[in-house]
Amino acid sequence: MPTLEELRERARARQELSGRLKQLVVDRLDVPTEAEWITDDQALFGRGLELDSVDALELVVGIEFDYAVSITDDQVGVFGSINTLADHIEDELGEIPTV
């Protein structure tokens, strides 16, 4: 069973990663909201942020640039939410990146 400190540290690291991804979305896609207002599990496409396929391409480029992590056409689930994007980055890198 993880300790309180281990859980606290994981939560902190994931929140930092989610925060950076939200900022990337706001900066790269020019969405009319603030990064802190985006929630971790809200839909990115369709309802929620209402992004489109052009936005998806821009996000792919941004994530490859910032994290050296690629997203392929068949990985549709990656764009479910900020959380699923963060999951993908964490899975590909084997850890939660700190920068």
Partner: protein
């Protein structure tokens, strides 16, 4: 007193009903597994007559709606609908509404069982230049959802309707009756909703039931939770607010003149004290709403808001509200269960599944 659906007489034998708000809804038509499977793998037929429908007309209609909802409707045009939040002056969420621009004004569609409450809320605030009319006495709503529902839509209606984009709206005709069609879904799968006079809705239900599976609200709510489509009557609770319930996406930050805005901005500036997280649980025991979520076996960090067993995922899924510092995916925790004691819970990322519709194109 809850109202039965005008389509209730057409339900197949064996239907179980439930009361949600002011509506008696079909809860189950007999097999949860079959109904849920229809949503995720085939075509589900849904009776949405329990959604409130309010006509908003008069010279002050647009200004009034603008003053009430949390997203800008100034540029809403008839080919699109918009989903947003209605709040009271203290920023307490009242309803999640869908707004349609129609000839002469707007139609505001409420959540399940919320028609009377939302109408009363609006009537308290509407000026004399606005007329609010409850349309449920004359109209009903039938919907199809599922990765292949567009095939049936193309067979029964004008095939052009299958080309509607998400949130697209089209006035159309079916057997001589005017219908309002919207490309909306609540489950992450393709969805088409048809609003029409009650007599025609009854005929349409019978026609669609020949080829689609009638699905009750039990299966619908599980499917909605699987993609974190919010349900205020399940997820708000007594102390819920916009941020605690994760409803931020229904609010446009750039809009600053509507009921509840000032109080909401105060809440935002103060920061969220607790936030929602998605979770799964080991085993099949479903933790009750209010069950404590515990970290490291020693610290209660939050409570379960809503959880269900998903027959598609074959596991328990849910939403909890935890202290803001703990709101993250991938935490291994425990949750109290009345008979099982503490059972392992893990926070996970939503959506809980990838809807088949994301991979199946409309042809």
């Amino acid at each position: 007193m809850a109202e039965a659906s005008p389509l209730a007489g057409l339900y197949p034998d064996g239907v179980q009903t439930e009361i949600i708000g002011d509506a008696e809804v079909p809860w189950s038509f007999g097999s949860l597994d079959d109904e849920h499977d229809a949503i995720r793998n085939a075509t589900a037929l849904l009776d949405f007559s329990s959604l409130g429908r309010i006509s908003v007309t008069g010279p002050g209609a647009m200004d009034f709606l603008q003053s009430q909802v949390a997203r800008d409707i100034a540029y809403l045009f008839p080919e699109r609908c918009l989903t947003t939040l209605l709040m009271d002056e203290d920023a307490n969420p009242v309803d999640i509404v869908v707004i349609y621009k129609v000839q002469g004004g707007y139609i505001l569609e409420t959540a399940v069982g919320q028609g009377a409450a939302t109408l009363a809320h609006l009537q308290e605030r509407a000026p004399a230049s606005v007329a609010l009319t409850d349309l449920r006495a004359s109209h009903a709503s039938v919907a199809l959802e599922g990765p292949f529902c567009w095939q049936l839509v193309g067979q029964v209606f004008d095939p052009q309707i299958t080309g509607l984009t998400y949130q697209g709206v089209q006035q159309s005709e079916w057997e001589g009756e005017e219908i309002l069609v919207s490309r909306l879904g609540f489950t992450g799968e393709y969805g088409f909703k048809f609003d029409l006079p009650i007599d025609a809705a009854q005929k349409l239900w019978s026609r669609l039931a020949e080829e689609a599976t009638p699905v009750g609200h039990e299966a619908l709510e599980i499917a909605m939770l699987e993609v974190r489509q919010p349900m205020l009557h399940r997820e708000l609770g007594e102390d819920g607010n916009v941020m605690r319930a994760g409803l931020n996406w229904l609010v446009e930050l750039e809009k600053d003149d509507y009921t509840g805005h000032s109080a909401l901005m105060d809440q935002r500036d103060a920061g969220a004290d607790s936030l929602p997280v998605s979770f799964t649980v080991e085993g099949t025991a479903v933790p009750a709403a209010g069950a404590a979520v515990i970290a490291a076996g020693e610290l209660t960090i939050g409570n379960v808001v809503h959880s269900v067993y998903s027959p598609h995922l074959r596991r328990v899924i849910g939403v909890a509200r935890v202290g803001a510092e703990w709101a993250a995916s991938g935490l291994e925790l425990d949750v109290e269960h009345a008979t099982e004691g503490a059972i392992p819970l893990k926070t996970v990322s939503a959506p809980f599944l990838i809807p088949l519709s994301w991979r199946v194109p409309i042809l």
